[in-house]
């Protein structure tokens, strides 16, 4: 083989390697990498795993946030960011009253579901309903740790 033919063969091999590289990247998820990865809150999703009160509380809160976000036609993540308004990446699209109403409704529905599934006993469910109906939403966020400590 002449040096020219060897050079052409090397170039062809490099071009094939480059094409293979792109195919490998696409096969490893390049098309969707880094895209928005939040789910539709109106679609059912697997419940938060785990045993005990902490996991049960998180299941209720996450289900409640999903229900509220679905009602507001938003994602759960947008709603969470709206509840923590100092993170300025996303503009808040709702007034406080709308958010509170949606969050309370979502949480109450989640408590009902948890009670129906047997994840919560009736006494705790009543207590939680009282808290959700009466407490300010910001208190629920800031006080979440305290509630969990109380029951955990």
């Amino acid at each position: 083989m002449t040096s020219s033919r060897a050079a052409i063969a090397t170039l062809v091999a490099l071009l094939l390697a480059a094409a293979t590289f792109i195919v490998v990247e696409i096969a490893n998820g390049a098309v969707d990498a880094g895209s928005l990865a939040v789910r539709n809150p109106c679609d059912p999703r697997a419940p938060f795993p785990g045993q005990g009160f902490d996991a049960a509380l998180q299941r209720i809160v996450l289900d409640g946030l999903d229900g509220a976000a679905c009602e507001l036609d938003a994602t759960r993540e947008e709603l969470v960011l709206s509840l923590a308004p100092r993170s300025g990446a996303e503009p808040i699209r709702w007034d406080d009253e709308t958010i509170e109403r949606a969050v309370r409704a979502g949480l109450l529905e989640a408590i009902d579901d948890a009670e129906e599934r047997g994840s919560l006993n009736a006494v705790v469910a009543v207590l939680l309903r009282e808290v959700v109906e009466r407490a300010p939403v910001q208190w629920l966020i800031d006080g979440g740790q305290g509630i969990a400590d109380l029951f955990g």
């Binding site: 098309v31 996450l62 960011l81 100092r86 996303e90 740790q145």
Partner: protein, 462 residues
């Protein structure tokens, strides 16, 4: 003293070798200056408390001035003594480099960079004939100039990054002053006045196709260098020196490709080089994760592509040594014009996409924390602390969450550590996607270079 005739072996080889190295280094630095400051931009941004658009002018001003001055010099450079042009260029470059290093405000820095661009254009315009004279033949001078130009352009960001990390951003400019000073000594050396008169008057139109390819490839190079370095350091979180090592795959690929280029026809070398540069850039646009291995393969492809195409195109543009001053100056102008046009397009695309991808990053990061398999007693205060870190982060970098996660037990609790890793990946991947359109545009420039090579395949060499 008379200059040696073309083809005659030079006398006093050590002295001439030193002169050759000095001028070649100055050529490399003048080309490196197009991108050398890119890794110092975060420090300059912080020190002068400016805007991203303002700090970008530290790069843009140099490239615009070099392009404009070089294209203007094409009309006059053949009437000037090359050593005088080189000397004036080196003097202006030296003074401007010192002024850049001492700049106390962004306005002064941008002004000094503009003056440095004038010096760079003059230095590059005068260097080719002088290198030919020192090396003993135009062909050897062209070979040295081409190698210095290619390597200089490719190592610029890495060199600047290393200097910024070890010292500070003024060091990027301070180290250039002695190199320009050495070139000044060469220009005023024993052979001053021996510059041969160039044969001129030949139209430059025949070298237009090759210069068009060079402009397109250097536009694509903007993607490889500017965007690639920003990605590796500001998004993937590598230190400037680590980033310099990763990006050094570009000059390594360039060097490895040289023997291969010699065995190919000009059109095949240029077209093949652009055809490797395009998938290299596309590979950077389509990174599936923040795994640095993908980026390293892409950088190596870009380096091989540049090594195949740029030296052969440069040799074709400069030809047999006739009218070398004008031809060299024209190609300097064409390259920097390509860079400037690419930067002018890429900068607003990147700025807009990064804003959008930052919003996606925050939403994806929120999902990671909300769904994290950690207790509510850890999750809620952690989420509030992450929010505070995000609020305090500057626009130009991904915030460091290490301290926050350590405070909440990442060193002892694997679940917290997992959330930390997922959070950092979610943010980095979203921001990486923000580079996609910019890299794709640069890949398009490389694809256009393939098209130009096919169309002008018989006219690449005048």
């Amino acid at each position: 003293m008379e200059a040696p005739a073309v083809g005659e072996r030079p006398k006093r080889p050590l002295r001439r070798s030193l002169q050759l190295v000095a001028v070649a280094l100055a050529v490399a630095v003048a080309f490196a200056d197009s991108s050398i400051v890119v890794l110092a931009l975060p420090e300059i941004f912080t020190e002068f408390a400016t805007t991203i658009e303002g700090v970008a002018w530290v790069i843009t001003s140099y490239n615009v001035v070099v392009a404009v001055c070089a294209l203007a010099l094409v009309l006059a450079v053949h009437r000037m003594r090359a050593r005088l042009v080189l000397a004036v260029g080196a003097l202006v470059f030296l003074a401007a480099s010192v002024a850049c290093a001492l700049a106390g405000s962004l306005g002064v820095l941008i002004a000094a960079r503009s003056v440095q661009g004038i010096g760079g254009a003059l230095l590059l315009a005068g260097s080719l004939p002088v290198l030919g004279e020192i090396a003993g033949s135009s062909a050897r001078g062209v070979a040295v100039w081409t190698a210095a130009a290619t390597i200089g352009a490719a190592v610029g960001p890495a060199l600047g990054g290393a200097l910024t990390q070890v010292f500070d951003w003024p060091a990027v400019f301070a180290v250039q002053a002695p190199i320009a000073g050495a070139t000044l000594l060469v220009a005023f050396g024993a052979h001053a006045g021996a510059t041969q008169k160039e044969r001129t008057g030949a139209p430059l139109l025949p070298v237009a196709p090759a210069n068009l390819c060079l402009a397109l490839i250097f536009g694509a190079l903007a993607g490889t260098l500017f965007l690639g370095v920003l990605l590796v350091i500001n998004v993937f979180g590598y230190s400037p020196i680590q980033g310099a090592l990763i990006v050094s795959l570009i000059p390594a690929g360039t060097l490895l490709a040289s023997p291969l280029a010699a065995g190919l026809s000009l059109a095949l070398a240029v077209g093949g080089g652009a055809a490797l540069l395009a998938p290299g850039l596309l590979g950077l646009a389509l990174l599936p994760s923040t795994d640095i291995g993908y980026a390293m393969v892409a950088f190596a492809l870009c380096g091989v592509g540049l090594g195949l195409s740029v030296p052969r195109l440069t040799t074709a543009v400069l030809g047999d040594g006739n009218d070398i001053g004008r031809r060299g100056t024209l190609t300097v102008g064409a390259r920097h014009l390509g860079l400037v046009v690419a930067l002018a397009v890429v900068a607003p695309i990147l700025a807009s996409d990064l804003t959008a991808s930052s919003d996606v990053a925050v939403l994806n990061a929120t999902a990671v924390v909300v769904d994290g398999r950690i207790s509510a007693t850890t999750k809620i205060p952690l989420a509030l602390d992450i929010r505070d870190v995000l609020d305090q982060a500057s626009e130009s970098e991904i915030p460091d969450f290490t301290a926050v996660f350590e405070e909440h037990g990442s060193e002892t609790d694997p679940a917290v550590r997992r959330v930390q890793d997922d959070l950092v990946d979610a943010i980095a991947e979203a921001i990486t996607r923000g580079f996609r359109a910019s890299f794709s545009f640069c890949a398009l420039l490389a694809a256009l270079a393939i098209g130009a090579t096919i169309v002008f395949r018989r006219r690449l060499a005048p």
